[in-house]
Subunit: 524 residues, 2 copies
Amino acid sequence: MASRNKIFLGTFVHSKSRTELEYLHDAAMCVDGSSGTIVHIERDFGSDHSPASIERLVSQLGPSWASSSPSESGGGGGGGGDDGNSSHHRDGYDVVATEQGQFFFPGFVDTHIHAAQYPNAGLFGKTTLLDWLEEYTFPLEASLASDLPKAKRVYTTAVRRTLRNGTTTAAYYATIDVAATNLLADVCLSLGQRALVGRVCMDERTVCPAYYRDESAEESLRRTVETVEHCARVDPTGRMVGPILTPRFAPSCSVESMRGLAALQRSRDLPVQTHVSENRGEISLVKKMFAGLEGATLEGDEDGGVSYPGVYDAVGLLTGRTILAHGVYLTEREAALVSARGSKVAHCPCSNSALASGSARVRWLWQHGIDVGLGTDVSGGYSASILEAARQAALVSRVVAVAEAERRAGGEAETSKLTAQEVLYLATRGGAVVVGMEDRLGGFEVGMQWDAQLVGLGMVKEEEEEEEDGEDDDGNCDVFGWESWGERLEKWLYTGDDRNTKMVWVGGRLVHERRVKGRRSGCM
Amino acid sequence: MASRNKIFLGTFVHSKSRTELEYLHDAAMCVDGSSGTIVHIERDFGSDHSPASIERLVSQLGPSWASSSPSESGGGGGGGGDDGNSSHHRDGYDVVATEQGQFFFPGFVDTHIHAAQYPNAGLFGKTTLLDWLEEYTFPLEASLASDLPKAKRVYTTAVRRTLRNGTTTAAYYATIDVAATNLLADVCLSLGQRALVGRVCMDERTVCPAYYRDESAEESLRRTVETVEHCARVDPTGRMVGPILTPRFAPSCSVESMRGLAALQRSRDLPVQTHVSENRGEISLVKKMFAGLEGATLEGDEDGGVSYPGVYDAVGLLTGRTILAHGVYLTEREAALVSARGSKVAHCPCSNSALASGSARVRWLWQHGIDVGLGTDVSGGYSASILEAARQAALVSRVVAVAEAERRAGGEAETSKLTAQEVLYLATRGGAVVVGMEDRLGGFEVGMQWDAQLVGLGMVKEEEEEEEDGEDDDGNCDVFGWESWGERLEKWLYTGDDRNTKMVWVGGRLVHERRVKGRRSGCM
């Protein structure tokens, strides 16, 4: 999977903290082809991209950079970068430079997405969680589990679509089927997307339909182990594709199967993903189904009875490596528990609004010391784009702010509102923390993987001109030229789409490049 | 502005009612070039598009259709349709047929958009209405009012952008400047978008900044009349571009100027647009500023004191031709008043969420007998797309439903949720009612204008293939082939964008056509 060494030049933007974006202009970053990591950053490289200037940069690096074999052709994925303004080969390494107004941004991390549900993106009618599962979700997932060619078509489409939208790492739910789950791991590996891939565990006999469930807790565990071992076979390093234990959600799992997964988690130190407190009806169901489960009730909890995250804690699944999707209705005591265990939350605003689940309170979760990332939650969520999830996170936080202000009868609640900087943090570094890869992903630092996207916004022409014969492929994001960099990032967040994501790399490998009208769209 | 006669063949989708979309397959619609109206609909035309079949259709029409002069070349706008699969010339008329999976849909109506604010789309930080006006809006609008080349660049970009997104009719706010407002009317006329164009009236001296206001009520009226007369000069028929009286919002207007506008409205029977009950702080301001205004207090109103729509009613501006943007916080009594006067509401969900104004209750408005359309409200709203507004209307209605369920302490409130069918109604026929053009716009009926868009969704290939050299320009909307037509429309609503709007006509004239990679993108 090794690709050529690469040098990136120009403007880089990433999260310095939750509240602040850092802008590096005229900088240079050097990426080692074999490891995919950033090995050198020069913050004040300057705007001189001449061969001499680049040679000076390279002279500080190791011997692999001095190689002058022109037979080493471009990286994998969508194209080798063999011409055009923004990318050109040099001996031993490739150079990619931002054009005016473009910038490199860390790849997005999707902390919660159901690859198998991708064909249902946008389809949910007026359902909410529990009837949505029965009407839309179980039938589609079951159809993939029994039809590998269909699964391949769906997974290939989903992974390509998310890559085009800048998602470089995703935590996927597949289906209950071993072969189809393994196929998803293969597709991610082949298309070059970093992924956690989980076989969905669901063996409970009242909630799961007879046509789509594990027949027993033992079967659920055995089949899970098969997918864990497949991942280790196809990617022994675990750097690109790894397994994740995936009890669908408490109501679909027997206590026995959850305890078995918890034991597996401890013995192999695996990540876990599941859902929690998404919907009022679901929470009632959990309280009923797990009434009497020892250790699942939190003393002093305002909600009373069995606690939903308390159930996961009681069976040993509330770990520091656990991703909990949603968490819309967590109580104070529950948030304290989740925080104490170090479990993370995947915030899925598109899904929560679409399924009328509610509005999760991100700042409240942060205030409780819980790490948060973003999930598209396709197909509860209608969009495969983390940029859309970030946009909706910002909008939903304003809905939460209004509700708070109303509860306090007047005044405006500023505190819940998330800024552009904060939701872009959620989309990158926040997500990296949630998937347990914050040491490798989410920002531009020496030692981190080059998981990145080249972003270009549309520049409105100075003079009125006739509409061109052909679209400019910059979408709806119009920059007039007087905007600050902060404003450009806000415009990207609120009006951008996959057309602004010109190139995508994972681990230094080019995995997507927009090409329109026969030219490289990376060049504005 | 006359264009050639046109025949449209294939699949047509429009709102039959608020709750139902109608699908016509293998249908034909004939559009008269000089008037732009649909003169004939054949619902069962069939799939035979042969010359003989079309000749039979044409033989039922008037003599202008029999003309066989090949010198009559294509319509105006983006292209004449001179080759390709979906459009081909015939003697005396053009024929445009949907390809597989494509459909004609009525053009969108944007009932509330500030053209002058377009460069700020996506920029609002953490502001709410009143500080947003001071920080973002007044400075930008003032800069356009004094700089016609800048205004031309901004208006041209805004009108092209909305056309590309399928908006065939828009109710625009310009600025306070006469020349720049007249310029907006000219730009709409030249680019072929149907528009109501309003000069913004604001003469109040505490809310409006000294650098951006009318100096007196008299000046405000006089300058308004100048723009009204300009519209009549450039489009004597009033079919394409007409004036609309535009008191910005009550706090920015003196009672005298509003009474003057009301007199002008009555004497010339003009439409009116303004804002109402968008934000709590704004409502408090209105109650304070207009305390004591006779006729502005509603007996038994739960809110007490002066009523915001009551102020408009007291000065004579609450008419059957009045468009009220927002109406988030209307009380029962206020809704009854608005309904009694026949005023309409422009629902702007993107803006209401972005500026943390609140969530308007569309079904509640409907239940009070108020007609509702959609507005992008650029740049309170971040998007120039009515499809995005429709999507957000559906999502926000679910937020409203959740809040209702919570207030009722349990259960799920289904009633507030808007369906895909309902928000697409808002985007077309609903909007047509709001701008007072429901007899001419919003659906496919004999006598209506051909204001329409050709929509094409992305078809996922059957076989796994290498990614093409070039994007397919169908965006994120992936159709796998097994979806019903209803599901396709839902996918378009939730995952579509301007890439799915392949061609746009206003009054029978082609005003936008996507062209990618040198080929017509209307052909899938």
